[in-house]
């Protein structure tokens, strides 16, 4: 029953443009003094935008100036919305106008545009009205131009739903081995042998960035590994909200391993919001505490090299991963193991085997496969000058 309602709603949204009112008066009209005026409704909007094309047909020495006014015609009143002074250079001009602020109405609505044109003088005074034209605008609930985004999201959601359901019922999904993750065990072991703490920097991003969320997902299984060896784990943070989530993650991971005594909230701490102040203080911490292993996973900007070089200097083993294209080269050059881009997101599924994450990773993979196939087909079709894919599906 739910599925039927869902499908019904989608179909209604898709075909709603058919039920909106047709535009009238969408052709050129001619007036005297002569001008050609056309009102164009902006397609796929909420009914508030119009374009007006105005071409003066009189010579400049007959009528030098015009005044064009756009009104929002309501049932009982006409509200002046825009007024344009035009100098007659014989050229056709196009004006855009918003009939009403869309926040006045909570849903799309058809408005009526009224155009009046006057011959005018240099001061812009109204001399002689010679144009009066109205048009009702079209509105749509659904912007057809964004259809590809809608379909992409719907397909992805269906895939995510299917794969998470399967993963929860115990189906084993394959994620290929990601080099660098096998090193996590040896990194933790090395730090334990040296009797040094482990540092985990979840990047300098906020919770609205995916890399930060992926990093916090990886923090849980790493904390569980660390809990087995009772090695001190420290998590410096740049964002207070990320720190709150990291504290919860670390505490729950310690509890899951049966070692709630190991959790100290001072070990997951906030330093500062300033990017380079954070970099400076973390570098100072590395130099003083000389960690055995450093994890740099998450969103990094320019301070990434400072972290990597300082950790290298103190002799720590570094495992880094980020989706910032500009910082990956630094991590590759300076760190022992690097997770490039999407490997960071897949790593959280690989390490934890959490059905949610594994299911999402598989759904991402299938969507990627679909996009690769679409791209391939698009390239082949484009060679034969067939542009269905570029014009309708992968729109610019």
């Amino acid at each position: 029953m739910k599925k039927i309602i869902f499908i019904f709603i989608i179909i209604t949204i898709l075909i709603s443009p058919i039920f909106s009112e047709k535009t009238e008066n969408n052709e050129f009209d001619e007036f005297d003094p002569k001008a050609r005026v056309k009102i164009i409704d902006k397609p796929q909007d909420e009914g508030t935008h119009v374009y007006v094309e105005f071409k003066p047909l009189n010579k400049p020495d007959e009528v030098k100036y015009y005044l064009l006014e756009v009104y929002n015609k309501k049932a009982d009143s006409e509200e002046l919305v825009s007024s344009f002074k035009i100098e007659n250079k014989g050229k056709s001009l196009r004006f855009s106008s918003t009939l009403e602020d869309s926040t006045y109405s909570p849903w799309p609505k058809s408005r009526t545009a009224l155009i009046k044109a006057y011959s005018s003088n240099k001061k812009g005074e109204k001399l002689n009205q010679f144009v009066s034209k109205t048009m009702k605008t079209n509105y749509s609930w659904f912007n057809i131009n964004k259809l590809s985004a809608f379909l992409g999201v719907v397909i992805f959601l269906i895939l995510v739903y299917i794969f998470i359901k399967k993963a929860r019922t115990g189906t084993k999904f394959f994620i290929r081995k990601i080099p660098g993750l096998d090193a996590v065990d040896s990194a933790v072991g090395r730090a334990t042998e040296m009797g040094k703490p482990i540092y985990y920097v979840p990047g300098i991003g906020t919770t609205s960035q995916i890399a930060t969320l992926a990093s916090l997902n990886i923090l849980a299984p790493i904390t569980r590994k660390v809990a087995k060896f009772s090695t001190p784990l420290k998590v410096p943070n740049r964002d207070p909200v990320v720190m709150s989530i990291a504290q919860d993650v670390v505490q729950e991971a310690y509890m899951a391993e049966g070692r709630p005594d190991l959790f100290d909230s001072n070990d997951v701490f906030f330093l500062t919001r300033q990017q380079f102040a954070f970099a400076g203080s973390v570098s100072g911490l590395f130099k003083r505490e000389k960690p055995g292993a450093v994890f740099l996973l998450g969103k990094f900007y320019a301070e990434s090299l400072i972290f990597a070089e300082t950790a290298n200097d103190v002799g720590a083993i570094q495992i880094a991963g980020t989706d910032s294209v500009s910082q990956i080269p630094f991590f590759i050059a300076a760190c022992d193991y690097t997770l490039i881009g999407e490997e960071l997101f897949a790593a959280s599924g690989y390490l934890s085997r959490d059905p949610l994450i594994v299911g999402t990773t598989k759904a991402q993979d299938y969507l990627k496969a679909l996009l690769i196939i679409l791209l391939f087909i698009g390239i082949i079709l484009n060679i034969f000058d067939i542009d269905i894919i570029t014009d309708y599906i992968l729109q610019r």
Binding site: F84, S96, D101, S102
Partner: protein, 346 residues
């Protein structure tokens, strides 16, 4: 025997060149950067297509404004950089502002984070002072636009209600420039001068949702990330790093000499007289150019160009170091392989 071998290895030239102490490398870098800088060397730089696209777009807006004086288009500047990236972004900001003021294009500026506000205020007014721009008529600084995405989306209809006041506390409905320049329909271009990933947000919310053309002036760190967008046409050109800033500076300096005359110093000296000084509100800038201020203004016009000479030295230095390091590494590995072969042979 093993010790003797080790000592022999240490004397080899390829081991020596790979173990140059770090302080000497840093000292070399310091000298190579500081000497061209202090000698005030300027290198002319070749101009690339991406920077040209930004310049040409602003010129097109200027042509459009001349042909349609009642339907002028303005430019919205996202001042998206802070004190930590001023060496690269300041020259970009100065040249873009200079270009816009020279061409009388109305400018609206906002900044998405607190620490950027004072920087934006000082940079904007510094350049406005050089072209006798009137605050409220020729340019406006809206202040803090946090969270930036809400403001980018609101500008599709009207940015005034979300700001309430500008940076200086003036009511938004009192500023004449905002009567017209308050939504994307009347902005011909958005320029995001940034040291972070903010231009991606401009792309997502201004360009993809509302088809607004966006250009970017960015630090070199982010330039590599934005190249795919610049190549696909989503960004209308890109000014990348100090090199991009130097190119843009060159273009704008040429333009300035055409418009203002070859002697920019005397233009600045004669800009403010006793007669016209009262017209300018001293809250924004002090309408007076003394010799020190003129010297600084002239130096600022070549800030990126002077930096490029040091860049050139630094890049050559690092290339030489990389080649030396690779040669040393190659011979070291070769020697190790030979030793292993000899040991196996014995």
């Amino acid at each position: 025997m093993a010790d003797k071998n080790e000592n022999k290895q240490k004397d080899k030239w390829y081991v020596k060149i790979m173990s140059i102490k770090k302080p000497y490398v840093y000292l070399g870098m310091f000298l190579v950067v500081i000497i061209p800088f202090l000698a005030n060397l300027q290198i002319k730089t070749y101009e690339t297509e991406l920077v040209g696209q930004v310049y040409n777009k602003i010129e097109k807006i200027h042509e459009y404004n001349i042909n349609h004086p009642d339907k002028k288009k303005g430019v919205l500047i996202g001042f998206d950089y802070g004190p930590s990236t001023t060496p690269e972004c300041d020259p970009i900001a100065y040249s873009v502002f200079r270009h816009l003021f020279l061409r009388d294009i109305p400018i609206v500026v906002w900044a998405p984070y607190g620490p950027y506000l004072e920087l934006a205020d000082s940079r904007l007014n510094r350049i406005a002072k050089e072209y006798k721009a009137n605050y409220g008529k020729d340019y406006a600084f809206m202040g803090l636009a946090y969270p930036a995405t809400a403001y980018m989306v609101s500008t599709s209809s009207d940015l005034r209600p979300v700001f309430n006041t500008d940076y200086y506390g003036n009511d938004v409905y009192d500023l004449k420039i905002l009567d017209r320049f308050n939504n994307y329909d009347n902005f011909g271009l958005v320029v995001s001068i940034s040291g972070t990933a903010m231009p991606e947000y401009w792309l997502r919310y201004a360009n993809s949702l509302y088809d607004q053309e966006v250009s970017v002036g960015t630090t070199a760190v982010n330039a590599a990330k934005f190249y795919p967008y610049a190549n696909s046409g989503q960004f209308t050109g890109m000014i990348a790093g100090l090199k991009g800033a130097a190119e843009y500076e060159q273009k704008v300096t040429r333009l300035e000499k055409e418009i203002v005359g070859k002697d920019v110093k005397s233009y600045l000296r004669n800009l403010y007289t006793e007669a016209n000084r009262e017209k300018f509100n001293k809250e924004y800038f002090n309408p007076n150019f003394n010799e020190g201020a003129i010297r600084t203004a002239m130096l600022r016009r070549h800030q990126a160009g002077r930096g490029m000479s040091s860049q050139f030295g630094a890049h050559i230095y690092v290339i030489i170091l990389i080649i030396i390091g690779n040669i040393g590494y190659f011979f070291k590995r070769k020697a190790e392989k030979d030793r292993t072969k000899r040991r196996r042979g014995v």
